[in-house]
């Protein structure tokens, strides 16, 4: 199935309906295996003791904070270049999930930093760039919530997301520069000398589990976003029918071409099931 076939929201809903149980199952299995490996099999660090176990959720959170933004940037390209109808749904669904993962990355890092560095927060280069990434996520969510029409909001947010994606390497580089200027090498480096294989395997399994978790949540959020837009289109149509004013019909016209067919299909699909 080509990706353009998924442009029809109803077909996408049907596909994810079949796919989601398998994804949830795979997530649970990978999470259980990963947690078992991380908590029971992998050794404790000779310096850090049991607190090193925080790494097994902290590092996957950090990886997914970037991964979710990459998904959003690709979806923004889909919105602006190919005008794929589901890509702005994908971008909108990924933003709060990515923000939540980034926030949890900061929280777990802070909890890890307290026993290790003796403080909740240091202006370390990595922490600072993740904090900036978190603020960018919040800005994107704020822009989504400010523009009422989802199609126009999708285009505006796509521009912002791509500009942010260009800026992330520059911000990372400049924060590294700033950090070495201000506090040279006073912080314990997070990547130790070398990692024993048992720790690495546990970390990789946890990263896989979190990626699966992100995909599951992302598909679920996309489904509810599609349904939310259908309800919006139905309400607008109802309002237009009730008042019978031509202006209401033109106001709805910009959402109708996309949601129109999907809504009708959705109705018949609901009637069948």
């Amino acid at each position: 199935m080509a990706i353009i076939d998924l442009a029809n929201p109803t077909r996408f809903l049907r596909l994810t309906d079949r796919l989601l149980p398998w994804l949830v199952g795979a997530t649970v299995v990978a999470m259980v295996v990963g947690l078992y490996l991380a908590l029971y099999v992998s050794p404790e660090d000779y310096q850090q003791g049991a607190t090193v176990k925080i790494m097994y959720i902290h590092v996957p959170f950090a990886w997914l904070a970037m991964f979710a933004y990459t998904v959003m940037a690709l979806a923004s390209l889909g919105t602006l270049v190919w005008k794929h109808p589901l890509s702005d749904v994908s971008a909108k669904a990924a933003a709060p999930i990515g923000a939540a993962f980034t926030f949890l990355c900061l929280v777990t890092g802070s909890l890890w930093g307290k026993p290790m560095w003796g403080t909740w927060w240091v202006w370390d280069a990595r922490l600072t760039s993740v904090l900036v990434l978190f603020i960018m996520y919040l800005g994107i969510i704020a822009l989504w919530r400010t523009i009422e029409d989802p199609i126009r909001a999708g285009k505006a947010v796509a521009v912002l997301t791509l500009v942010g994606y260009l800026n992330i390497p520059i911000i990372k580089f400049s924060v590294d520069w700033w950090n070495t200027l201000h506090q040279p090498a006073s912080v314990i480096r997070m990547d130790g000398p070398s990692m024993p294989p048992s720790m690495l395997v546990a970390l990789l399994v946890m990263a896989l589990a979190f990626t699966l978790l992100f995909m599951t949540l992302h598909f679920m959020a996309m489904r509810s976003e599609i349904l939310r837009r259908r309800i919006r289109a139905m309400r607008q149509r109802e309002a237009a029918g009730a008042s019978g004013i031509a202006t209401a019909a033109t106001a709805q016209a910009d959402t109708a071409p996309r949601d129109g067919t999907g809504t009708l299909n959705g109705k018949t699909a609901e009637a069948r099931s």
Binding site: L160, L162, V163
Partner: protein
């Protein structure tokens, strides 16, 4: 050329004459610099050490202030639609509008910075370095801010959202501007390296800013 030239002249006239508010930014800059010593105390040694940082943060906040009117006034009176439909590429129009906005509100900040640095007990050499970095860096702030102004042009209260969207993107400019300005205080640090990166950031935003802002303006109109 004549189209862009007359657009530049029009923007300058609009911002300098009554109701333009180009000098508000300088007044705000002055207020920030006056307020800071009340917050951290009148210690002249401390103020001269952190002076470049205070002036840079003040200039950053002041240049954010007028940005929400960059495209909004044109949208209100309908001239934005004419610019969108005209034959001149919208990217060039945005670039010229940003340059005119910088000349009317960013350049006064750069010119007033040496005067304000007297309040912060800064050395002449530090003042010179700071003014040079502001001259090189404030165009980048306006050009990046233009993206935010284009994104929020159709919103009724876009000013606050604009600051939230733009501030994370301006962090690199702030870092390299302050680094280069501080090099004059501490001779162990290089001046040329951060200054060159600052110029590079300005050039990058001169390319990225107009394209992104023009795209956002086109999407906001349809």
């Amino acid at each position: 050329m004549s189209t862009l030239g007359s657009l530049f002249v029009r923007e300058m006239r609009l911002s300098i004459r009554v109701g333009g508010g180009a000098w508000m930014g300088v007044l705000f800059f002055l207020c920030v610099i006056v307020v800071v010593p009340f917050g951290i105390g009148p210690d002249l040694n401390l103020l001269s050490r952190i002076g470049p940082a205070i002036l840079w943060i003040g200039a950053l906040l002041a240049s954010l202030l007028g940005l929400d009117r960059l495209f909004q006034a044109d949208r209100d009176d309908g001239s934005l639609d004419l610019l969108l439909m005209g034959e001149t590429p919208l990217e060039l129009v945005v670039l010229v509008k940003c340059l005119a906005h910088w000349a009317a509100s960013g350049l006064p900040l750069v010119i007033s910075a040496p005067v304000l640095s007297l309040f912060l007990n800064m050395e002449p050499i530090a003042t010179a370095a700071l003014t040079a970095t502001l001259l090189a860096g404030t165009p980048a702030l306006t050009l990046i801010g233009g993206i935010g102004a284009a994104l929020t042009v159709s919103l009724r209260r876009g000013g606050l959202l604009l600051a939230i969207l733009v501030l994370p993107l301006t962090i690199p400019v702030l870092i390299f501007g302050v680094s280069a300005a501080n090099a004059a205080l501490d001779y162990s640090m290089p001046f040329a390296t951060p200054f060159a990166i600052l110029l590079a950031l300005t050039l990058i935003s001169a390319v990225v800013g107009p394209f992104a802002a023009a795209a956002a303006l086109r999407f906001s109109s349809d």
